[in-house]
Amino acid sequence: MSICTTCPYCGVGCGIRTDGTALEGDKQHPANTGRLCVKGSSVLETLGDQDRLLQPEVNGEVVSWDQALDEVAERFRRIVDEHGPDAVAFYVSGQLLTEDYYVANKLMKGFIGSANIDTNSRLCMSSAVVAHKRAFGEDVVPGCYEDLELADLVILTGSNTAWAHPIVYQRIAAAKQARPEMKVVVIDPRRTATCDLADLHLAIRPGQDVPLFNGLLTWLADQNALDLDYIETHTEGFAETLQTARDQGNDWEVLASQMGVSKVDLTTFYHWFATCERTVTVFSQGVNQARNGSDQGNAIINAHLATGRVGKPGASPFSITGQPNAMGGREVGGLANQLAVHLDIDNPDHHAAVADFWQSESLANANGLTAVDLFNAVESGEVKAVWIMATNPVDSLPEADRVRHALMACDTVVVSDCVASGDTLACADIRLPALGWGEKSGMVTNSERCVSRQRPFVDAPGSAKADWWIITEVARRMGYEAAFPYQHEHEIFAEYSALTALAGRFGKRLDLTAAAALSADQYEQWQPQQWPLQGEPRCFGDGHFSTPSGRGRFVACENPRVRQIGDAFPIILNSGRIRDQWHTMTRTGRAGRLFAHLSEPFAALHPKDIERYRLSDGGFVRLSSRVGDALVRVKSDAGQRPGTAFMPMHWTDQFSRRARVDALVPARLDPHSGQPAFKHTPVNVSDWQPRWHGWLFTAAPPPAVEYWARVPVDAFLQAGQVQRYRLAGDADLTEQQLHDWMPEAAQWLALNDPATGHFRRAALDKEGRLIAWLAIGEELPLCDVEWLANCFADESEIQHLALLAGQPVDAGPDLGPVVCSCFQVRQKTIEAAVEEGADSVEAIGKCCQAGTNCGSCIPELRGVLETCSV
């Protein structure tokens, strides 16, 4: 029997229909109408009990839930009693469900009495929250996905939509295919896969978003393209804002040159914006994760307010979120500077209303510490106990090494997670096994305010429990039984929905009151619905906003101070997602298939920079910033702007030796949102030439060498899941070391060429099955890693020489790298299809299936078409 649930990945929030063994996109879900991306369609491969946290642990000892919960409650109680409520903190996550979020927020703000609860949404969305609140008086995304299809101009800025929000990208692509006259502009210093769809790519210099949109405002004024009636009737603050924009002048030649684009491209963009009534501007982390991220968001919104294009069909600014329930978290109040349901802590009326609703006498009355400050307070000892839920701050916060040290030194670190190993879990005193996707039950809200159910379809492993249950049990043990009576998640959702009545009372749009009396059965039957429930799909289209005056507010945005790039750190490092991975890989890292696209951490650099800094494509680069360093592979990418680099955000110490991009990022924050500037880290780069390279397949942890990167193999031994490690080092190796890297084995295959440093080992068990494999050489030893991976799963006898060679004797032709992850179609197969006459992406799909499932490889298919037709 199949159930409908919501994908655990990005903020698009696609519906999935699954019976636990197979899945498909939910055709009834408004977000995706049946489509799924490669991550979503392979999510079942990430399930399973391996490497799951199964039992509660205190100081490394497995304990009962009673013991663990008593311990957490006792420690928090003691610290609050001795040092006050601000000495404890929760750090939560956009992976939590709305019910989990709600009880965490209620416990911390309502009953412990501190606002020290912040969420990893601080890292991705908080600048957009500020921009929304400043412009609209409320953190509301006015538009909906349909607007992307109705628009005549779609602007994608600071968003590699093709990789980070593939289904949104596909909806735009389908619309453009249906209406080729629709225009797409991509604004991004990098040429990304998203640019495939672009009529115009503005590769502005990093940090030039405010000048770009200020310039737009000036252009609109100069061209008489403003909606003066709208401005007059529905907004405030326009004059000062326009004046601020005008301060940079209107010499488009000079401005274009400052921004790093051509005047023609710049004015083309302005012209299109001026003339397309139906314009949607999609913005994401590239806008938010900056030192002036809030201003960048408002600069975009200013242009929409100035043209009256907010919350209208096909015309709206559109912030899209990164996480499955970042929006739900924002709604319930999971940020340290929100109270609950879009109300403010420092507003006495809001405060009184919520205190009354919760029957709380100790409701927090001052904003709490936002993420970076929260961990600074952990470091300084002001915060003595922190409870981290479903997130990985040791990898995801800036100055990540400092965060690790702070947690290691912290009195009490509680971590609730569904995995058994992780960089943050390694710092935990108390570990609590939480349910994961497919097990837990609750609500999530996507980027278009659509509230959908995540439904369970597999049993909880071990004694894992729902986050809301864990929090509730701790709350009761801390003495708040009356306020936390929940027996089932639907009770929490109903209470939260009832609370949104307060939002309405104070003029906010957030409204789920229709669900306030929801029965358990209705909760079970819940169909995806946008809020305001029973309202219009868009907000503010009538020109009435949630501000006290009811007007939309222009926010004057100063151009950022131009920072000189010093010789010490001449490259600007950007970070972000890659197509087939998600966050810190705790889920996608379990599916070997998702490493076929990009298997190792890398820094993408322009070929000129590779030459200039004497690096080599495919070689190794050491990146250093003021606060940290990393060692990754070099990837030449002509789509990079010279002087910039890009690193994926995904690799942690669980997957590579030293590839945590956030160890490099200094904690520079947007002053309004507290969001770190992840996209703009000055670094230097230097070549690293290992003396040896290698491959190691083993179920054991990686050896202590200078470089390793791990890929899981879909094979399981008694010792655990087989892992493939790419190794490199510059210390001399001894045969004893090689021996130590391998498990005990009944039989050995060995090749030794000590003069050239070439060694190979295959370890077999008594039955002759492969249990570990190693090859080391001055150059990377040749082998077919995919064939080898299959050898671990293969029960049949494998010829020993082939095994040591790491490839079958009768190896077929090399078909090149996997391009289409869904159907595992390789480069040369696609090239062959093109040579045989496939002249479009559709024709390639008919020929070899590539690109016909999730479609995320379509930009690469187009690349093949272009190359082959030259």
Partner: protein, 415 residues
């Protein structure tokens, strides 16, 4: 017609007769004098015969009809006792007086006798000819000590084990077949043979053979004091070229009968080939150079003589108890003054070693799986530069063919 007398009817002699009668069927009236009372048999097959894996008829490669068909007179069981070079005659024990225009010495070699007390006791045997095999096959099951861990000793030990004897092999060196194998392969061989039931005493010096009081073997005594009780002793400590007859005839004899590159002795009418000769300070024990000598010598006897015998270091191919072994060249890397590099491959049941100097193969040992021997031997003989193959060389020829684009496939981190 000229007269050719051949002394010896072993493998070298038979091969020469075959070549000669093909090259010049009517040139000579040929007489062959064999000491053994048999027609020509394949000495290499004595081990299988001792194992019971074959029979005498099968290993008799040159039966009496073969000689008859070629008009060759074969005298067996009657050794030559003297050569009269001036009269160009040879005398046999049975009183044959045979005149020759050309004489070929193919007298072979005899087993080296242990130079110790008790080597002459009853029950001390060799493993050299059909007669020895018949004798060994007639023994009731008992305790056998084989002295010598070379090829013959191992073959004898293995065969006798299969015949139901309890066999102990003593060897003076640290590993078996030290002429043909490096230490690692020698140790593997020992382990594999131990697994089949053979017992080994290594680095053992035999001191004497103990008399049971009735003139027969009781035990082998070693220099370190060990006493190995034995009913029989098989000595397999090498061979000695049989050159007495040549020496008596006044030919130049050193370790063996000295021959030049045409296999001619000091006397232009007399040729010598096989285990009895010494050519350029080298004596011979394996079959491959003997065949080459037979071919060269036959061409000269056929008066087509233009070829010269030059020793070519060929691969040694052995089979011990079903285990294939091939080696050649400086496989242990010991004979050079440094600069040679070792490549080794260890698999269950097989082992490979290549010695490389200046990117060329200079030596090889294959143990177990020898299918790649011709590949390596060709590279060795041609002195081919192996630097491009080096990383896969040990894996064999099938892995040494470059593939399209396979090389840098894993270097891509990205699609």
């Amino acid at each position: 017609m000229k007269r050719l007398v051949v002394i010896g009817n072993g493998m070298a002699a038979c091969r020469l007769l075959e070549e000669l009668t093909r090259l010049a069927p009517d040139l000579y009236q040929i007489t062959v004098v064999g000491e053994e009372p048999f027609a020509g048999y394949n000495r290499v097959m004595l081990s299988p015969l001792l194992c019971g894996g074959t029979d005498e008829a099968t290993i008799t490669t040159y039966p009496h009809e073969w000689y008859r068909e070629r008009g060759i007179r074969l005298i067996t069981g009657s050794p030559v006792t003297a050569i009269h070079r001036h009269r160009r005659q040879v005398m046999t024990a049975a009183g044959h007086l045979l005149a020759y225009d050309r004489l070929l010495l193919a007298t072979g070699a005899s087993p080296r006798q242990l130079p110790i007390d008790g080597a002459d006791l009853d029950g001390v045997m060799s493993f050299r000819d059909l007669h020895d095999v018949r004798k060994l096959l007639s023994l009731p099951a008992g305790r056998v000590v084989v002295v010598g861990g070379g090829f013959l000793g191992l073959e004898a030990a293995d065969a006798l084990l299969k015949q139901g004897h309890h066999v102990t092999l003593v060897h003076s060196r640290g590993h078996l077949l030290n002429q043909q194998l490096d230490e690692a392969a020698g140790h593997r061989l020992q382990q594999d043979l131990e697994a089949r039931g053979l017992t080994f005493v290594m680095q053992a010096r035999t001191q004497s053979i103990e008399n049971n009081g009735q003139g027969a073997v009781a035990a082998v005594l070693l220099a370190d004091g060990q006493r190995l009780p034995a009913d029989y002793v098989v000595q397999a400590v090498g061979i000695v070229p049989r050159a007495e007859l040549a020496a008596q005839a006044g030919l130049t004899v050193n370790q063996g009968i000295r021959v030049d590159d045409t296999l001619q002795t000091f006397d232009p009418a007399i040729y010598a080939i096989g285990e009895c000769v010494e050519h350029r300070q080298r004596t011979f024990g394996l079959v491959a150079p003997l065949y080459e000598q037979a071919a060269v010598c036959a061409s000269h006897l056929a008066e087509l003589g233009h070829r010269r015998y030059l020793y070519a270091d060929t691969a040694t191919r052995l089979k011990i108890s079903g285990i294939d072994l091939v080696s050649f060249g400086d496989f242990s890397g010991e004979s050079d003054s440094g600069g040679s590099e070792t490549l080794q491959l260890d698999l269950p049941g097989s082992y490979r070693r290549l010695q490389i100097r200046e990117n060329r193969i200079v030596g090889m040992v294959l143990y177990g799986d020898v299918a790649e021997a011709p590949f390596y031997e060709t590279l060795w003989r041609e002195q081919a530069d192996i630097s491009a193959l080096r990383s896969t060389l040990l894996l064999g020829e099938a892995f040494c063919n470059p593939r399209d684009g396979g090389g840098d496939k894993q270097e891509d981190i990205a699609a």
